[in-house]
Each structure stands twice: as C-alpha cells, then as structure tokens.
Symmetry: C2
Subunit: 204 residues, 2 copies
C-alpha cells in the first residue's frame, strides 16, 4: 500500500473544536501541520516559523504571482496562505499534512491537490455550537451572532467536503481517532495504489 503522506484539510465553524482535535492528531509523529505564511505584523505571542512564517506584503504578492501558493486569502488587510513547496516536501517525506483553513481555502486546495481529504469538523448540534461560542466568555453578543451567521454561510461549501466528523462534547479524542481512521482508509484507495497493482499483476 502507498507510503505517501496524505493531505488533510480540516475546517469547521468557530467553536467546532478544531484547535483541540489538531493538537491531538499532532501527538502522532506521522502528522504535521503546514505553517501558513502571512503578511501581517507578528504579535507578542507569535513565534516566527512556528505560528506563522512572516513576510512583507510585497513578498506575499510575489509568491502569488509566481504561483507558489496552494491557497491564499486576504483578511482585514493582511494576506494568509499555504506555500505549495512546504506541503509537497512534507508529503514526500511520508508525513500526513494537516491544513486548518476555512472553506474557500479548502476548495483552492482541492483544486491544486485533488487527492486532498476535506474534512468538516462539526459540533453535534446547533445548540452546542452556540454554547461553545458563549463559553469562551470573551465574545460579545454581537460577536457571537456574527460567528453564528458566518457558520451558516459556510454551510454552502460543506457538500464539497469528503467527510463530516462530529466532535461530540468532551470527546475530542474520538474525533481525532475518526480522522486517523479516515486517513488510514484513504491509503487503501485504489487510485492511490496503482503502483501496487502494477507490480502485482503486470510483471508476470
């Protein structure tokens, strides 16, 4: 079976628990996140090369025009993107590469890497989503409503995702395990194992 790493896109509404699930996946050494590149200014808690790779707006625009980005988006005046090269290098080394990005970036990835696995991480129900957003405590009602509206707007893109993983309350470990299963099963796909078939049936 194939030894190549899988490219895994994980999206979901704010409050879906993406951060926790990704951290759990990273406990397994075969999983790595691809570090995003951004043109925004580093903040006090940023670690260059760990939280983000920081470049100037000019450098970012040059990366776009040179076709070096697998996906990118602009958010309140700053650019964020995923360099193709770093994804490809991780995949070649056999790592499963996680991209935690929003819906439009996910579709850009699917277009550039058709073998990418798009996973929508979902809270079990709308009430849990709302409770999780309120639970953070740092958000105003306006913030929460804006995020709930955004979650509903993102829904139009879910049919383009391959899988829906429900992150049940207190069971982020199970959600991470489901994602590991998806990745293991994906490696048994016929389309990824043409080499195995060829060596088996053609050379006799």
């Amino acid at each position: 079976m194939t030894n190549k790493g899988s490219l895994i896109v994980i999206s979901g509404p704010a409050g879906s628990g993406k951060g926790t699930v990704v951290r759990l996946l990273l406990q397994d050494e075969s999983y790595k996140v691809s570090i995003s590149t951004t043109s925004r200014q580093p903040r006090a808690d940023d670690i260059p090369g760990v939280t983000y790779n920081f470049v100037s707006s000019e450098e970012f625009l040059e990366m776009i025009t040179k076709g070096e980005l697998a996906e990118f988006a602009e958010y309140v005046g700053n650019f964020y993107g995923t360099p193709i090269k770093s994804v490809e290098e991780l995949l070649k080394s056999g790592k499963n590469v996680i991209l935690e990005i929003e819906t439009q970036g996910a579709l850009q990835i699917k277009s550039r890497f058709p073998e990418a696995i798009l996973i929508w991480l979902s809270p079990p129900d709308y009430e849990t989503l709302e409770a999780r957003l309120r639970g953070r405590g740092t958000n105003t009602d306006e913030d929460i409503n804006r995020r709930l509206t955004a979650a509903k707007r993102e829904m139009q893109f879910i049919p383009y995702y391959d899988y829906i993983v429900v992150n049940e309350k207190g069971l982020a470990n199970e959600a991470a395990e489901k994602i590991r299963e998806i990745v293991n099963v994906d490696k048994m796909s016929t389309s990824l194992n043409k080499g195995f078939l060829k060596s088996f049936y053609n050379n006799k």
Copy 2:
C-alpha cells in the same frame, strides 16, 4: 451520522481468502450476506435459503425481465444473481450487506447502487496467490494456470473498485478489520449525511 446499512461488494482472485474474511466479518451482527438466487440444481451439501435460493431457469428469466435482479451472470449453463429486494430490505434494517461476487457483477451493482463500496481483496503478491492455489491440493496444474490467467484478466476491472485490501498471510483478521474501518469511515461521507446537515444548519 447515517444509520443506514452499507452495501459492500467483496471481490478478489481465487486464493485471495475471500471466504475466510467474509466469515470473520459475519461474526459482527451488523454484517449480513445477501443470499444469491440460482437456477442450478441443489447439490448434496446445499441448504436452500442458506447457501442459495433455488429457482427454475424459467423463474430466473422472469426475475431478469421484471428487473428484479441487481446483478446476474450465467456460468456453465446456470444463472446466478442477487435480488434487489433482499438487498434493500437488509440495508433498510441497518445491516451492512456483503456481496461476495466477481468483477462484472460488482460493476452491475455499482450501476444499480452507486453508494456501494467496492473492495478488491488481494493477496500480498503474485507468489502468495500461486502458492495459495497450489496449497488447496485439489487443483491440477491446468486448473491453477487457468485461475492465474483469470486473475490477470480480472485485473482490468480493479480500477473501478474503491479500495484495495491486502490479505496478508495468516492475517485474515486484520483484513476483516480493515474492511470494518472502511465501512465506518464511509458512514462519515458528506454525501450520506445530508440529513444531518439539514437538521443542523437549516432549521435555525
């Protein structure tokens, strides 16, 4: 997530160990095989309704012309087929339905049930395949060569299968577990969970 049963087609060359793997899957009560219907005469070790459902050639032809079969094939003068009704009833009751059939029947199933999961069970390599066929002891060299040629001919259909599961020597349990994982992961497919999405995002 969806509670509907999955339709699982398992094919593979003679000597791939299909029989053993299917028996292991059936130890789990959520898995059932669909009993084939045939026009051949019952043999001494046949149990009607268990090994096959037996009908006359006329009855079989009537089932064909009434569109009651999901797939059928003729083999040395006898018909073998899978009734649509029995598959649908098992699926509706939440069972995962296993069909152990050959390649052309598998494609007929995919055409009638696009959500069917087509799994190609493969020996780890060509040498193991040959050794397994010889190991049965009851086959002449001519038989073995005929089966090896058939295995190579069937290869043209493998690209239409969804997954390749390798049945390593002495590890049929692992192959069965891989198939269970494939079925579990399939139930997280976005296309099978439109109901979940609708209840989540639309009714608010």
